[in-house]
């Protein structure tokens, strides 16, 4: 007999900042959310320091459950050599380019990004150079334990 689970996001929860492991230079970041919870992904922030190589980098944020793409946020900005930018993805936010004024880009995530445990949150960057470096990668999440009926 199969078990039924309550995946409704209600009841006791916790708020967490997840400090994602900084990848090696030239590598993408990826984090798998712990199983046993339903998550609301409030925001994702990270820095990308571009190397001296004159690539036009295009950063895409993706969320996968196994091989299934849950949602993605394509780039709206081309990051060039030597730029250091703060990327900030926010649920229900807005796409704003303040790269010149504040070295800041903000992006809109879905308004209610509920995702299950086991989901991978990762970057997928076109023309990422071997000298490029992601850092300061944080996920701000609200999470509810999955309860058996």
């Amino acid at each position: 007999m199969s078990k039924r689970f309550n995946r409704v996001a209600q009841g006791p929860f916790s708020l967490d900042i997840i400090d994602v492991v900084t990848p090696a230079a030239g590598a993408e970041f990826s984090h798998t959310l712990e199983e046993g919870y339903t998550y609301f992904l409030h925001s994702v922030t990270f820095y990308l320091q571009a190397s001296v190589v004159a690539n036009n980098r295009l950063v895409i944020l993706e969320t996968y459950l196994a091989d299934r793409l849950l949602f993605t946020k394509p780039h709206v900005y081309t990051q060039v050599a030597n730029e250091l930018l703060l990327y900030n993805f926010v649920a229900g936010g807005t796409d704003v380019d303040l790269s010149a004024a504040l070295q800041l880009l903000t992006f809109r995530l879905p308004s209610t990004p509920f995702i299950p445990g086991g989901t991978r949150v990762l970057s997928n960057t076109a023309l990422l150079d071997v000298g490029d470096q992601f850092s300061g990668i944080y996920l701000y999440v609200q999470k509810w334990p999955i309860l058996e009926d």
């Binding site: 209600q10 900030n88 926010v90 229900g92 303040l98 504040l102 701000y140």
Partner: protein, 147 residues
């Protein structure tokens, strides 16, 4: 179960004489009005640049667990002299009406703000003499259900 109380209003004092400088940006902070979790439903202020010409932007950010999350911002520079009405709310489209000196935009949806967190008002390219006035925030207060 999580129960939401009816939205409460919390009006903040005029901060025009209370703005402080921190690094390159002047910052004013505020927190949820009582010792409970809250959602920031909407935010309003009047930003009055002084006569010095510079492209100011206004940003709200949440400082939580020693990290910053930007939750709302203006997108059109506010150059000098005229007072701008700035309004952020959940689900609102980003927009500006330059002739009326009005800007609005979305706040992060359902953003849970614990009572020990702080919201920062940043003015990018702040000039001495700029004012941030009539700051008002509307909160949806929550019964604490943290594990």
């Amino acid at each position: 179960m999580t129960h939401n109380n009816p939205a409460d209003w919390a009006l903040f004092d005029d901060v025009s004489v209370d703005i402080t400088l921190s690094g390159a940006y002047p910052i004013r902070t505020f927190t949820p009005p009582v010792n409970r979790d809250a959602e920031l439903v909407h935010f309003h202020c009047i930003f009055s640049p002084c006569a010095t010409v510079a492209d100011r932007y206004l940003l709200l950010s949440l400082n939580i667990f020693s990290t910053y999350q930007f939750i709302a911002l203006t997108t059109v520079p506010m150059p000098a002299t005229n007072s701008w009405r700035v309004f952020f709310a959940q689900g609102l489209e980003q927009a500006s009406i330059g002739s009326l000196f009005y800007q609005c935009g979305p706040i992060a949806t359902r953003l849970r703000i614990p009572p020990n967190a702080t919201i920062f008002i940043h003015v990018l390219n702040y000039q001495v003499g700029d004012l941030v006035q009539d700051v008002a925030a509307r909160w949806n207060l929550q019964i604490k259900t943290n594990m």
